[in-house]
Symmetry: C2
Subunit: 253 residues, 2 copies
């Protein structure tokens, strides 16, 4: 009997292949099978020259590969003794379905390795030139998905009560209502920003306040995938925008 292969749960980062870790790049080099999520930069396949590459995207709301099928696919190839690399956008251990995939692989007794990466909210902050947790403004940051399993909303009031920076994933389809909910608990002048395709060649960003950001983002034509950032720490980005106009070299490296 052939020895069992293994599955590597790999974080692809926000898009730019340069934001992969050295460990991730090496794992791809020796992959036999690569399973790619929708939002992952397809050029990542060039780093896995030996691999069979299979797209298994699951776009919110669209018809797509069922989760159970993806899990069976990983197990089938691993059982053949192959090295399966499951590529997830951003950081694999934040949102997505890593928890369920890990549980399924464990139950099937298939060895798993996890390789971390850069999550989109950090790339968004880098694009804006701000720390997510400037200590003049807050004690931390909350990463929350606006896309809940039961189609309900997160408890925006409880999140606002922490006075922390909010990094909202998958919120663009309801940006207007979520900003309105937050404005009931926070000042409507609270700085906010939207960064689409953060950390990729197509990155676009706008800044404003809780009162204005939904309109500003809509007017600029920004949609999914994007990160919505809210909090006083994000106010530093406004200064940056003003500064950049005079100082185009900034972040030109």
């Amino acid at each position: 009997m052939k020895p069992t292969g293994k599955v590597t749960l790999l974080s692809a980062g926000p898009g730019d292949l340069d934001l992969l870790t050295l460990k991730a790049a090496r794992a791809l080099t020796c992959a036999d099978v690569v399973l790619l999520d929708d939002l992952v930069n397809p050029e990542i396949a060039s780093l896995a020259p030996q691999a069979r590459v299979i797209k298994v995207g699951k776009r919110g709301g669209c018809r797509s590969t069922p989760q159970a099928f993806i899990e069976r696919l990983m197990q089938r190839y691993a059982r053949k003794g192959l090295h399966v690399v499951r590529v997830k956008g951003g950081e694999a251990l934040l949102f997505g379905r890593a928890g369920e995939e890990l549980a399924a692989l464990r139950q099937a007794q298939i060895p798993v390795e996890i390789i971390n990466g850069v999550s989109s909210a950090f790339a968004a902050a880098a694009g804006l030139g701000v720390s997510l947790t400037h200590r003049d403004h807050c004690q931390g940051v909350i990463f929350v998905t606006a896309h809940l399993r039961d189609h309900s909303e997160p408890d925006w009031r409880a999140l606002a009560a922490t006075r922390m920076t909010l990094a909202i994933y998958m919120g663009m389809s309801r940006i207007e209502t979520l900003c309105a909910s937050l404005a009931q608990a926070l000042s409507s002048e609270t700085p906010a920003a939207v960064v689409q395709w953060a950390g990729s060649a197509n990155e676009r960003r706008v800044t404003g306040t809780l009162a204005t950001i939904a309109a500003v983002a809509t007017e600029a034509g920004l949609g999914s995938p994007a990160i919505i950032l809210v909090g006083d720490a994000i106010g530093e980005a406004v200064t940056l925008a003003a500064f950049e106009a005079e100082m185009p070299l900034l972040r030109s490296a």
Copy 2:
């Protein structure tokens, strides 16, 4: 007059040099000056063969390089036309003093580039084999520092009210009291874990509950630097620990 150089604010990740991004590794290759924080793996200097390497650590509570001096040092070298790489542990835009350093560099009109990385809490989750946000358990994760500027405590009750996973940085010196505070708002049976030196060769981890984790960590001799994780999503790690005993191949890659 020589052209102004630039500063790269570089995220070194949690320790293992393999967890640097490709972009970070390349920036180091052509650095002229490297300013290293305390908790950064000193072997990173081997990736910057041309650079003058200066240690500018600022351990909490210890005598160390004042922040203002670090900022002046960056500016002085950049003004000489050099490429200064400021290396920060974990992700540069989470805690640390990136916000202040960015503001100082902007005021001095020095071009800045930011390179993201892997924050320790993600490495801790990888070590435990869990998602930080398993959707059976929560809608997000909070990254909070227990080490506040004015020596007060974060509002643990407000954080607990969000029902999210908590990733607590710099909390080991007060783990007992902070777990007690959290246990006033959460069940004392809430799963918890401590991971010391997450994502490095010296990584050590223990799991327990809010009621037990402080004693378990102390008995195992775990101290700073460590991440404390609290929340139902972390309960998946307990299953993993039980499973690993029978299945040592797991994450052996």
